[in-house]
Each structure stands twice: as structure tokens, then as C-alpha cells.
């Protein structure tokens, strides 16, 4: 018996999948979720072997949700129409269903998932796919961060600055700081260049949050932020600031 969770934001889509799965003796639905937040919680608590995952969901899409999981289960992706996603599924031999689908097609997908689930690296394709989706995304507009059991969605407009901390970065926002396992390089290339500047090896600042740029000593600058804090600016950082602000 395979324990499964359905994650889809459209009620009729969940209903249809449930009805189909009730007819299969070897799948047991342990939970249904209507968004990615509930999904993360349910997967971490119930540890299902299989997840039916809709890609298009509010705030946290299917790929972003998977990124927040500690351990990846077997996933059968569900989409109505997404040619790019479908190509990626094919590339990584990940199973998917196109809405609307037949019961036979669902049966096949479940059977394949079951054989894969037995293997030690059964979820490898999914892992690669999630990684690829993240890197592929040019400019990010939000960052999902898991703190304990909660998931915080940070929009880039909320960020004050980002600080390097070994393999992690600390993201400072209006309501506190959040640790994220990503490199400075990633944020430097993926945050919108019109709003963020790498002012120092260890700092990326949001331009609108900078209050003043001051000469600190000969050839050394600091920025004063709107909340009074100061950050160091490196020589190349100063040049980048000048380019961004055109002064």
C-alpha cells in the first residue's frame, strides 16, 4: 500500500483525483492540501511515499514547495498546459499527468512510481528537476524560507540587505533576519539588478534602502541604511554603486 498526498488548489481537480484513486486498491490518500504551505507541513508530518503535485498554485508553486522539503518523496506532477515543464519532466524521466487525464494513465503513473520508490535513489530525477528549475529562473521575485514549522515568503521589495555567512546567507528584512542555504553569487545574479547592488564581498544591498553613501577614510566608503545601520563598501562595490545610481 502506497501512502499518498494530493496537493492542488482547484477543488474539482482534487475531487477527480480522489475519485480515481479510490478505485485503485494499492494507493491510500492520507491528506489533501490546497496550497504549497499546507503541502510542506503535511509532507513533513505524514512522510508519504507519493505526492500528486499541481505546479500552478498561489504564492508557492509546485517546484518552490519541493525546494523546502528536507526529504523528497516520489512525485507525480500534474499540469494543465506547460510545455516547458513537460520538456523538463521528460528530460529527467519524472512522471507527470496532463489534465484532464484518464484512469488508465493514472494507473500507469502510479505503477511506475511504485517501482521507482523501491530503489535507493528513486527520487533523484525529481531532485535534479527542482535544482534545474531554480537555476533556470532568471530573476526571482520572492524567496521561500522555512523556519521551524513555518514558511516565510519574502518578496524582494522587503529585503534590506543580504549578508554572507559561510555556505549560507542572512537575509535582513522589515521584520527580522532569515537564514537561507544559497550563495551570494546566486543572489547577485538572480535578484533584479535594477534594485540590488553587491556593495561588498559580503554584502548585497537594496538600492532603495540606502540612505547615504559616505567617505569613511581615503578611498574607503560606507553606506548608511534607512534604519541607521552602516555597511562597508569595497572599491569595486563603490564602482558598481556608481553605475547603478549614475553619479
Amino acid at each position: 500500500m502506497v501512502r499518498a498526498i494530493i496537493i492542488d488548489d482547484e477543488p474539482p481537480a482534487r475531487l477527480l483525483l480522489r475519485k480515481y484513486l479510490e478505485g485503485l486498491e494499492d494507493v491510500q490518500i492520507v491528506d489533501e492540501c490546497e496550497n504549497g504551505f499546507e503541502g510542506v507541513k503535511a509532507i513533513n508530518e505524514l512522510k508519504p511515499e507519493l505526492v500528486f503535485l499541481d505546479i500552478e498554485m498561489p504564492r508557492l508553486n509546485g517546484f518552490e514547495m519541493l525546494e523546502l522539503l528536507d526529504e523528497l518523496p516520489m512525485v507525480i506532477f500534474i499540469t494543465a498546459y506547460d510545455q516547458y515543464a513537460v520538456k523538463a519532466f521528460e528530460r529527467h524521466a519524472v512522471d507527470y499527468l496532463l489534465k484532464p487525464f484518464t484512469k488508465e494513465r493514472l494507473r500507469e503513473a502510479v505503477d511506475r512510481a511504485k517501482t521507482m520508490a523501491g530503489k535507493p535513489d528513486g527520487a533523484r530525477g525529481v531532485k535534479k528537476l527542482v535544482k534545474e528549475q531554480q537555476d533556470k529562473q532568471d530573476i526571482i521575485e520572492r524567496i521561500a524560507i522555512k523556519t521551524g514549522t513555518k514558511i516565510r515568503i519574502i518578496y524582494t521589495e522587503e529585503i534590506h540587505y543580504i549578508e554572507a555567512q559561510d555556505d549560507y546567507v542572512m537575509i535582513y528584512t522589515d521584520d527580522g533576519k532569515y537564514l537561507k542555504q544559497k550563495t551570494m553569487k546566486y543572489f547577485e545574479t538572480h535578484l533584479p539588478a535594477s534594485s540590488f547592488v553587491r556593495i561588498h564581498r559580503s554584502y548585497i544591498a537594496r538600492i532603495d534602502f540606502i540612505d547615504q553613501i559616505e567617505l569613511y577614510e581615503k578611498d574607503a566608503y560606507i553606506v548608511k541604511l534607512r534604519n541607521g545601520q552602516t555597511l562597508p563598501v569595497s572599491k569595486s562595490g563603490y564602482l558598481r554603486l556608481r553605475d547603478a545610481l549614475r553619479f
Binding site: 482547484e10 481537480a13 475531487l15 504551505f37 496532463l98 521575485e141
Partner: protein, 360 residues
């Protein structure tokens, strides 16, 4: 290009009158200045003008196949000098010998003919030039009109093509998700499934059949929008709330067909995208000062400041379409305030032929 005279009854009559007038003039000339008998003057004038009239019809082809734009001017002059000489020679010779055969003319005519030969040649050249000029003007006018219609046709087809490109295509996401919802409804609510199939069919029919830029009555367009919203409400359940605020005096207002649906789709997409719970979409319509004003607003995540406006390729298309149809760029206004994204469309109610469709 057809023969201007052979195909036109009015011109045929005018042509006849023209030659009768010339014949009368020639007859008078002979009778008055050369004291010929009236009989001879009449015979001479009518025979010559008859020949000219018949050959004159044929001259059309000398013009038709020697158009000014396509020929060297020297060639044209030579061609027409030759044609003119041939025409004159034929008319003069034929006229001379034909009149010789008429019994009462005889020697009197012989003398008169040679006395007036200079004038005959001069008049012949003048007539030739007149005819050629008429034909060339006709060709020129025809080409000019053709060019104008061709240009207008081109402009029209370019505009139609542009409008078609901007026309919103049916969103495959919407289509396949709706089909999936129908599939789900067959499980426990077959009546509703049938209802939704009918609505989806109506919506698709409407979207496929409409030509871009065609004008529609607002209530018809709105009816289609309601079907679209009904389908989306099945998909999203109570997450999607729709408020309609339609002023009753807009019954006869006109607007380009299928222009509201993309705006509404955009509102739903962004309203739902960042809301975990319920989201509200509001449609307002009112008519005043010769405008139908439609406002569509959706809630959106306040922390995402200017995102939505920048992303709306769909909205850009709408602005382009409005500009193409009405020739104004101030009819689409996009606003972003208090957590609401608001698109306002103003449709002028004066149509191109000056009729007012606005009901007060």
C-alpha cells in the same frame, strides 16, 4: 482597363453629340467660306466625321498600350506621329474617294478638297490630339483611383492583421483546467457538468467566431463574460468572489468584441496568484458623456509593489488594440492603489459614421 466609350452608354451619346457638333462646324465652314452647296457641305462633313468617330474608338488601343509611365517619351511621340499620319491619311483618302462616287458632287468637290486640304490636315491633327488627350486623362484617372483603393485595401488588411495578432487567443490553461473540472463534475454532479460543457462551448464559440475589431453591444459581451466567470468559479470554488456593478443605462453601448475577457483573465490570474484564501474581482460599468467606462479591479498582494503592471503583456495588447481601433492612446488607464489593481477602459460611443450609440 475597359474601353471608356464602348462600355458606357452616357459617353456613347456624348461621343455622338461631339462628332455631330464637329460635323456641323465643318459643314458651316465649307458652306460659309468656300460657298459650296449645302448638300456638298453636309455630305463632306458627315462622311469625314463618321470616319473620325469610328477610327477614334480604335485610337483607345494606341493609348491603352502606350501608357506614359511605361514608355520613353521619345518613343511615345514617334508612335503617335505615325498613328496620327496613318489615321489622317486613311480618313482623307477614304473620304476623298467615297465623296467622288456620290453623283452630284463631281468636279466641284475635287477643287474644294485641294483648296481646303491644309485646313483638313490641321483639323485632323487637332482632333487626333483631342482624342488622345481624353484617353490619356481617362487612363490616368483610372490608375489614380486604382492606386487609392489599393492603398486603402493594404492599410485595411494591415490593420486587420495587426488586430488579429493582438486578439487574445484562448488560454490553454483555462481550457484544459476547465475540461478537468468537467471531468470531476461528472463524478458527483452530472447536471452541473452538462451545464458547464454548454457554457464552455458558448464561450469558445464566441471567442472563435468574433472578428477582431468588430463592434458589439455591451450586454452581449457581458453575457459572455458571465459565462467565463461561471466556469472559473467552478474551478476555484469560493476562493473567487465576483462583484458586478453594471449601470442600467449602458444597454446600447458598443465596444470592440473580446476586449474585456483578457483584462478579466488578467485580474483573475493575479488576484488568485498571491491569495491563499479568498480574492475579490470587481467589474463596474457606467455610461456618461458619450463614453462607456468599464473598470475591472482585483486584490493583490500589497508587498509586491509594482509587479503586476510590468508583467501584463495581455494589458499591453489591449492598449494597442484600443489605439488601433479608436486612434487614441488615453483610453486605457492602469492604477495600483490600496492593495487593488485597477484597469479602466473608456470606449467612445461615437462611431466613425457619426452615429451616436449612447443612450441617455
Amino acid at each position: 482597363m475597359n474601353h471608356p466609350i464602348a462600355d458606357n452608354r452616357h459617353l456613347q451619346i456624348l461621343y455622338g453629340l461631339f462628332w455631330s457638333l464637329l460635323a456641323l462646324m465643318q459643314g458651316m465652314f465649307l458652306y460659309h467660306f468656300y460657298q459650296t452647296s449645302p448638300w456638298l457641305a453636309a455630305a463632306d462633313a458627315s462622311v469625314y466625321m463618321l470616319f473620325y468617330a469610328i477610327l477614334g474608338l480604335g485610337l483607345w488601343y494606341a493609348v491603352r498600350f502606350n501608357e506614359v509611365e511605361k514608355n520613353d517619351i521619345g518613343n511615345l511621340i514617334i508612335t503617335h506621329l505615325i498613328t496620327a499620319s496613318v489615321t489622317l491619311t486613311v480618313v482623307l483618302l477614304a473620304g476623298y474617294y467615297l465623296l467622288q462616287l456620290m453623283p452630284p458632287v463631281g468636279d466641284e468637290y475635287n477643287a474644294i478638297f485641294f483648296k481646303t486640304l491644309f485646313w483638313r490636315v490641321l483639323a485632323g491633327l487637332f482632333i487626333y490630339m483631342l482624342l488622345i488627350l481624353f484617353y490619356y486623362l481617362y487612363v490616368y484617372y483610372n490608375n489614380f483611383m486604382e492606386k487609392i483603393t489599393a492603398e486603402a485595401d493594404l492599410k485595411f488588411s494591415a490593420r486587420t492583421a495587426e488586430l488579429n495578432a493582438l486578439k487574445n487567443q484562448i488560454n490553454p490553461h483555462f481550457l484544459f483546467n476547465s475540461l478537468n473540472s468537467i471531468s470531476a463534475l461528472t463524478v458527483n454532479d452530472p447536471d452541473k457538468a452538462r451545464d458547464m460543457i454548454a457554457k464552455l462551448s458558448d464561450f469558445l464559440r464566441f471567442s472563435i467566431s468574433e472578428k477582431a475589431g468588430e463592434m458589439r453591444r455591451f450586454p452581449e459581451e457581458m453575457e459572455n463574460m458571465v459565462k467565463y466567470l461561471d466556469i472559473e468559479r467552478v474551478r476555484f470554488g469560493n476562493r473567487l468572489q465576483v462583484v458586478q456593478d453594471i449601470s442600467p443605462n449602458c444597454e446600447n453601448a458598443m465596444l470592440p468584441s473580446l476586449i474585456l475577457q483578457p483584462v478579466l483573465e488578467n485580474a483573475l490570474k493575479y488576484g488568485l496568484k498571491d491569495a491563499l484564501g479568498k480574492t475579490k474581482v470587481r467589474i463596474m460599468a457606467e455610461c456618461f458623456h458619450g463614453f462607456l467606462k468599464i473598470q475591472i479591479e482585483n486584490d493583490f498582494h500589497t508587498k509586491q509593489k509594482k509587479k503586476q503592471a510590468g508583467e501584463g503583456i495581455g494589458l499591453q495588447n489591449i492598449s494597442e488594440r484600443m489605439k488601433l481601433i479608436y486612434g487614441r492612446s488615453d483610453l486605457v488607464v492602469i492604477k495600483n492603489e490600496n492593495g487593488k489593481f485597477i484597469v479602466t477602459l473608456s470606449f467612445p460611443q461615437k462611431t466613425l459614421n457619426g452615429e451616436s450609440n449612447n443612450h441617455r
